[in-house]
Amino acid sequence: MANVLMQGNEAVVEGAIAAGMRFFAGYPITPSTEIAEGASRRLPQVGGHFVQMEDELASMAAVIGASTTGAKSITATSGPGFSLKQENIGYACLAEIPCVIVDVQRCGPSTGLPTSPSQGDYMQARWGTHGDHPMIALSPSSVAETYRLAIRAFNLSEKYRTPVILLMDEIVGHMREGIRIPTPDEIEIVNRREAGNYGAYKFAYRVPEGKISLGMRPFGEGSRYNMTGLMHDYSGFPVNSPVITHELMERIMHKISDHLDDILETEEYRMEDAEYAVACFGGTARAARDAVDAAREQGIKAGMWRPVTVWPFPEESLKKAAANLKGILMAEHNYGQMLLEVERCVRGGVPIEFIGRVDGTVIPPSEILEKLQAMHAGGAEGHHAK
């Protein structure tokens, strides 16, 4: 039962505040600006702080800084600004500072089509910052899901002490939809695991026995420790040691890859007996579901498989789904970025067709339906981006 009409971008703000977000730093950019505007209005009402920084580099830095004081912090941007944030996103990965980065994808590269949808930052979300690093990214397909995933992004970020990307697209960011705001008791909130007050603390970067990730005492509350973007030892002090570097890298990578059951989420729509699956993410799912329904009406056993956690890629879920399929149709608003992941996982086991749109318009259900019909009739001719 819906009771509020809300824009996707607005749902980010409301969901984040429900999750406990109390700090926003950002720089205006279409199509994410409503998030900054909403945060500037809403945060002071709940005693939080908003600041419009001089650019996206500064916004990302300020968000990390705010998080060290214990404030759940967020920034929001779009393509060009997402590129600028990357260096400091890597900092948050290595220094293990929880924060949430929203990227409302728009058509690029460069200034591109500022008001048009795209999903061209899928790979940037994973590999945008330099060096190997862990990454969690979530991608909503509706306003209600945006609200839910904004909360989940904070929960994962706090639980694993890592930055989490909410990878939106203009389709969802700019549309208004009815949603029912959950009551506080319906929402699960994960808070940062606190560490004790140890004065001069030598073990701020050692995970206690039996815990998934580090606790964190906010700056200013007694424990004195160092954080750095250099490879560091348990005390957070820079080191050059290959042994310590290896151990640190293993730990930050495995804290994510060892907990996929908790982190991964997928949506399967009419997949029970499906022979053909549309694979997609984010706003594309809306047309995909319509196309699946239309195909079913024509006797084509179609379904939709959609990663909600888009990074790490839900590999096992796809492999399991693919085992019963005669074909996969990957539909996304880019030249085939998630397609690479799908191909990697399926490894030639199932024929893969592709719809990729990069012209700033939205893939309509009719285009997906036509492709499904061709696949069903055995007439699809291999994939190419258009």
Binding site: M1, A2, N3, V4, L5, M6, E14, R22, F23, T30, P31, R41, P44, Q45, H49, V51, M53, E54, D55, L57, A58, A61, A62, V63, I64, G65, A66, S67, T68, T69, G70, S73, N88, Y91, I171, H174, M175, R176, E177, G178, I181, T183, A200, P218, F219, G220, E221, R224, N226, M227, T228, G229, P238, R286, R289, D290, D293, V362, P364, P365
Partner: protein
């Protein structure tokens, strides 16, 4: 005495530090410790061991953060002030001290420096200005004197240098001062005053890099460079008394500017107070509205509506209200609109899709309904309508030749202007007419939706506009 402070305030297990012999950074770091020790002992200062945070960027100078036994964060090159901004705003009770190099704060981080100064956020920035990029091997920085040489200026630097203290003052810093390695007492005093100052403070400390700057520019040993500071650094009052032509041979040590501009977090606390006293401005979570007599008029699974006009006519708001009304009724709705150049001037397009069932695709492909308030928007959008489409146009427009859909033309704009008395209400008049013709929602539902989206104090006007629109439709239905 100094060694005691080292034990008290430094992470001695990480000493000796990485700096070269003769480097000025050690002395400057010690100056910070002395200033802090003095403030921490002074119970009046409010500064404690626990509420100080040291923030640094990347560079030789930036390594100071790791040696100082306070909460410390060694960040990325150029961004220390931006990290510090987040720390201070999120917890205004902390005393945030930034240790930064000339490159870190005035080249890659120059933008953050001037903006933090402009905001007058209560940070204390201590610049270790060695006029070079020490960490990367002596390339020129924005403070390298003109015509000196550097690893990337073998023929001499042709850029003109910044004076960082003056740059910060010009950008609005409410406390600026300078110090150096030799004049310890005055430098400590300025750092101390800067930390105490409530607002953005910057202390530019001339450091010494014998390894790169000194060697490349034949400045002699570290001792020679220190001697240079002794002879050329003048306490501010003495410097100010120098005749103008002599000034270029000396540099001042001491306070440059100090004023009492309001501080950022203080001002923000007023914003919090006023936002909270106004009560929740937010529209959510909102009460569940159960409308009386909710008989549904909306029967299609997916009913696509397009509203078009010129920018400023309010068609976007009208589409939002339609979608809101559907939501109030417990139906599904998607609203979207044109953005960017298309939404400024020219024609403006807004869409609402309403339906009994959950809605998928978010775009209108073949509208069941079109509202056009301008000729341009009618001409542009009257093609590609659904087979059973219905078109409502303002009576000032002429339907294009090929338009076969049922079309009703009503004096929407005129009614808003002459009857309601405000042209601005044309969108609400149109809504009344739409609902009168299509019977989408019970009247109270539409009224509630209108109320949710209009500015306070305009309720009477807008509800009147809605009624007039309905009246127009009633006449048309009878005719």
């Amino acid at each position: 005495m100094p060694s005691e402070l080292v034990y008290e305030y430094m992470r001695i297990d990480h000493l000796p530090h990485i700096w070269c012999a003769g480097c000025g950074n050690g002395t400057l770091m010690h100056d910070i410790v002395v200033a802090l020790d003095d403030l921490i002992r002074d119970k009046e200062s409010g500064i404690t061991r626990e509420n100080v945070v040291i923030v640094s960027g990347i560079g030789c100078s930036a390594r100071a953060a790791g040696y100082l036994d306070f909460s410390s964060i060694h960040t990325t090159h150029g961004r220390a002030i931006a990290f510090a901004t987040g720390i201070k705003i999120a917890n205004p009770n902390l005393h945030v001290i930034v240790v930064t190099g000339d490159g870190d704060c005035s080249a890659i981080g120059g933008n953050h420096l001037i903006h933090a100064a402009r905001r007058n956020l209560d940070l204390t920035v201590v610049v270790f200005n060695n006029t070079t990029y020490g960490m990367t091997g002596g390339q020129y920085s924005p403070t390298t004197p003109q015509f000196d040489t550097a690893a990337t200026a073998p023929y001499g630097v042709i850029d003109r240098p910044f004076n960082i203290a003056e740059l910060a003052a010009g950008a609005g810093a409410s406390f600026t001062a300078s110090g150096d390695v030799f004049h310890t007492k005055e430098t400590i005093r300025q750092i101390r005053n800067g930390i105490l100052h409530h607002g953005f403070s910057l202390i530019e400390c001339h450091s010494i890099c014998p390894t790169y700057y000194g060697r490349k520019n034949r400045k002699g040993s570290a001792v020679d460079m220190l001697k240079y500071q002794k002879e050329h650094g003048l306490i501010r009052s003495a410097y100010d008394r120098l005749p103008a032509d002599k000034k270029k041979d000396y540099y001042p040590v001491g306070s440059l500017t100090e004023n009492g501009y309001p501080e950022f977090t203080d001002l923000y606390s007023y914003i919090i107070k006023s936002a909270q006293s106004q009560g929740p401005l937010d529209r959510s979570p909102r009460r569940d509205v159960v409308m009386p007599g909710t008989g549904t008029h909306l029967t299609k699974d997916r009913y696509e509506m397009r509203l078009a006009g010129s920018g400023g006519q309010g068609v976007i708001l009208a589409s939002v209200i339609l979608a809101e009304a559907a939501v109030i009724e417990g139906k599904n709705a998607i609203q979207s609109q044109s953005y960017g150049p298309e939404a400024r001037g020219g024609t403006c397009r807004a869409e609402a899709i309403l339906g009994e069932k959950p809605l998928g695709y978010s775009k209108v492909s073949r509208p069941h309904f079109l509202l056009a308030l301008t000729q341009a928007s009618l001409d542009k959008y009257s093609g590609n309508l659904a087979d059973d489409a219905f078109v409502l146009i303002d009576s000032s427009l002429t339907a294009p030749e090929g338009l076969t859909a049922r079309t009703v033309s009503l004096p929407i704009l005129k009614t808003a202007r002459d009857v309601v008395g405000k042209s601005m209400t044309a969108n609400i008049v149109a809504l009344g007419a739409i609902n009168g013709l299509l019977r989408l929602f019970p009247e109270e539902v539409l009224q509630e939706a209108v109320k949710r989206h209009i500015p306070g104090g305009t309720e009477e006007l807008n509800l009147r506009a809605l009624k007039e629109g309905e009246a127009l439709a009633a006449q048309a239905v009878q005719a």
